[in-house]
Amino acid sequence: MLSLAPRAAGGWARLPSACGAAAVLRPSPWVEKSPADHAAFTRPCSSQKKVTRVCVRNGYSFGRLDLLGRRGSPLAHASVFCPFNLPKYKGKLDMSLFPVENIRNFSIIAHVDHGKSTLADRLLEITGTIAKTDQNKQVLDKLQVERERGITVKAQTASLFYNYEGINYLLNLIDTPGHVDFSYEVSRSLSACQGVILVVDANEGIQAQTMANFYLAFEAQLAIIPVINKIDLKNADPERVEKQIEKLFDLSKEECIRISAKLGTNVEKVLQEVIEKVPPPSVNIDDPLKALVFDSTFDHYRGVIANIALFGGEIQKGHKIVSAHTGKTYEVNEVGILTPNERPTHKLYAGQVGYLIAGMKEVTEAQIGDTLYLHKQPVEPLPGFKSAKPMVFAGMYPVDQSEYNNLKSAIEKLTLNDSSVTIHRDSSLALGAGWRLGFLGLLHLEVFNQRLEQEYNASVILTAPTVPYKAVLSSPKLIKEHRKEEITIINPAEFPDKFSVSEYLEPIVLGTVITPDEYIGKIITLCQARRAVQKDMVYIDEHRVMLKYIFPLNEILVDFYDALKSHSSGYASFDYEDAGYQTADLVKMDILLNGNSVEELGTVVHKDKAYAVGKAMCERLKDAIPRQLFEIAIQATLGSKVIARETVKAYRKNVLAKCYGGDITRKMKLLKRQAEGKKKMRKIGNVEVPKDAFISVLKRQSEK
């Protein structure tokens, strides 16, 4: 089946005729290190600046032509030429073959489940980047959690090679995380692009996340290619979606491409539109090196692998580079492209996208948004960099303290790949030693937890998430103590009382809800119950409404999404973006057991919610605290005011009925186990509280 390129062709090979009429001689982009078995040639086209010796290793350069030939390709003028998926091939690709004008950097953005990853799979197949098999399901979603949830957490990048009208193009597909929690990552990924494919489900139409993504692309002034996917579905209504796109995005119907990524229908058209509509990056290879870090991963053996987009100059092994953010200098060990696995190249040139390995030990050294430049040739850093800002905090503890070290190492390994998680050691009297982790958002938290469980087999207690509140201090003493007027409160124990504070602040978000109009009433009621303030309400077509609300972040943390789904029979979609802070009437609620405060259950709540939260906590505690020899009063209090109360009645009888000769061994074993457990219980005054009780109150409640 292999039709090997003749050595005599000197790196030029004729593709099998099946690949179409435009079968031409093409340069192999692979450069052979060994001088023994190669032929030199001169690059025939493209960049006029350089003449590079390109070598082809005998036989292998065009291996697996089944991948490349794309027999039956409907497009005579487009074909695939890059033969790099060769397991045995050790050579390096010459990236100078791709001048800036032949490069397109683009991204696919979509609401969850609208088919982003499936479209990416098809693009990878069409360009021969991956073999076309039935197994190509969300190739770029490498994580188990991504495939399970149908979301993209960790963006992947793939360089595609595509010949269109006789020109070899390098198309860099920069995948983005599909959730607003990662909007900063999305924005950095997009800043490496000049265009986006905006995918909308032909059945569901525009959803909240589509809006968020559109605005990100629009604000970044990217070319937008609207694509209506899933036209093969029975209920597909591409016309309605086209109208929505026209109305909301001001893009004409004619621009929309109707496709079925699943079946491959019209997918090549999308590729061609990318080439036609997305401008090449406007960069200059003669400028000094300026590279944007838009993602980073950690490899156990090679250290940090930073995904970079070159905005100027070139980069190769041996270069000394500097991080604009940290000022640290590194020596480049390896550069290459992502296909989507790393493929080393000799160099990367301005406009190109790839990876770099430079002896960075931690992902924090390759922060997303950072700019890299050549040592002694500093450049103006690219705009938009910010350090990850956690918006949701949760305590994480090992289920069993003996698992502390294992969990610690699992968290460390996981955060090697995710610098946006902040970690503070924490310890709870009830739950032992653990951490307070900061996440970009709720999904981020969930994904992190799920990855710990799935990839590291760690079992953890995750406490209910909280948000970072702020307090503007009025007490001079406290201001002096904190050395600032405005403090962030992560731990309720640090909540300053209202007499030393001029105001409290809570984080808010701008939420977008898109829903069929019959659910508006219920959704408005729901939002109001969450203390949300309506900002906007527009019909995006005859039946669908887009609502915009300012929500306190805390109000959407726990079960908002589920409530929204259940109030709308699953039809409403929701997305949000950071909207700063607003003043809030916050109070600290204490939980008392027989009059003694339980430190780890102290909670900061909005005054309006205190009663409901207090009641729920008391009820959960009542179920979780075993009966004791005396009655236990469980109270939720605000200052000295009791707002909720439950009672655990005293034991009246718990003595074993039969205890004769044959019962003693078993009874002693049971008693000693219980006595051991009693030692481990946390004593609040004279009340013994088992760890499980804390867990049941502090734990994030399952949302299903």
Partner: protein, 440 residues
Amino acid sequence: MAAPGGWRARTGLAVALRSQRAARQQRTLQKPLPSEEPLRAALYVHWPYCQKRCSYCNFNKYIPRGLDEASMRSCLTQEARTLIQLSQVHRISSVFFGGGTPSLASPQTIAAVLETISRCAHLAADAEVTLEANPASAGASRLAEFRASGINRLSIGIQSLDDAELILLGRDHTAHEALGTLEEAKKLFPGRTSIDLIFGLPGQSVASWTKGLEELLQQCDDHVSLYQLTLERGTSLFRQVQQGSVPAPKQEVVAEMYEVAREMLRDTGYRQYEVSNFARNGALSAHNLSYWQGSQYIGIGPGAHGRFVPRAQGENLREARIQTLEPDSWMKEVQAFGHGTRKRAAQGELEVLEEVLVLGLRTDVGIAHQHWLQFAPSLSLWDVFGTSVEVKELEDQGLLLLDNRGLRCSWKGLAVLDSLLLTLLNQLQQSWADRTAHGT
């Protein structure tokens, strides 16, 4: 009734053996012993067979298929011989035939075991010898035969006087049959007939329980055992409750039943001498008391438990022993090795003390100082519990008493003993560790 031949035979034998033993005893008595304790033990005999499985019972029991009673008998006697010799006790203070349903065993088997015991150690003529009897397998003539073979106390599993409840419990007798057996037993074992009752059954109310109890109190003898139903995993009743086909008894209701029953029995002249045991006219069960006093006991038969010092092996530590559970395997082992001991675990001093504490507090008299000092000569009850804040709290709550008599539960405390024990066990462990630390 007819002169009990077996009984006479045994007592005759005992007299014969007594002179031998007296001689031996004199030799040993030249060396003063710390107490009488090592020289005596109670003996439990497990009869592992039942006619029918009760829905609540998770004891070691089997429905026999082709039971070879002669083999069983010879194995029981063999094991009794082996273990009594191993313990080197001189005196068996009481014997208890439990099960299973030991009233299904033939009186000859009972007699054979008792004879063997008498040959190996002193079994006083008036020593308590109890048989557990099931109303269905204990007609008048059979009871008489048991008496003739040496039984002098009967414990009848009446369980309930409500036929519907008896069906729920899977019992193979009616309330009427049970009362008939009780009548006969009282004639044969006057003052030494005990009845077992179960309360806290699914669907049972405080009123229905009290009514049944009241009726029984008019007819029963001097000893009553009241057991709260424990739903044991693996029993059919447990499954039925799990599956919701019968309601789970409510904690509050069961506590009330216990409370009311205790009061009724007290008012009828019974002394609650243990958590579940009530006696009048001094008819306490000597055998069961010896468990609660932490005395030695030898267990024979499949799955029987024992606690004794195997002095014949030169050991000084008490062992917790368990015999092989399954009757056929047990028999094979006894035939091969003379005993079917499956598990032996030496008990340290602390472990013995823990048992003394847990068991002793089940009785109304609790643990007397002198009694405790027999087991812990250098660590008094005052040393252990006298300064503990938590123990003081329990005293202040009126649940526990530590005074010049010793340590015991109050009336209220007895019902929640298992909670008290957790505090007390931890305190004992702590004091023991402190003492050891200071000692070294």
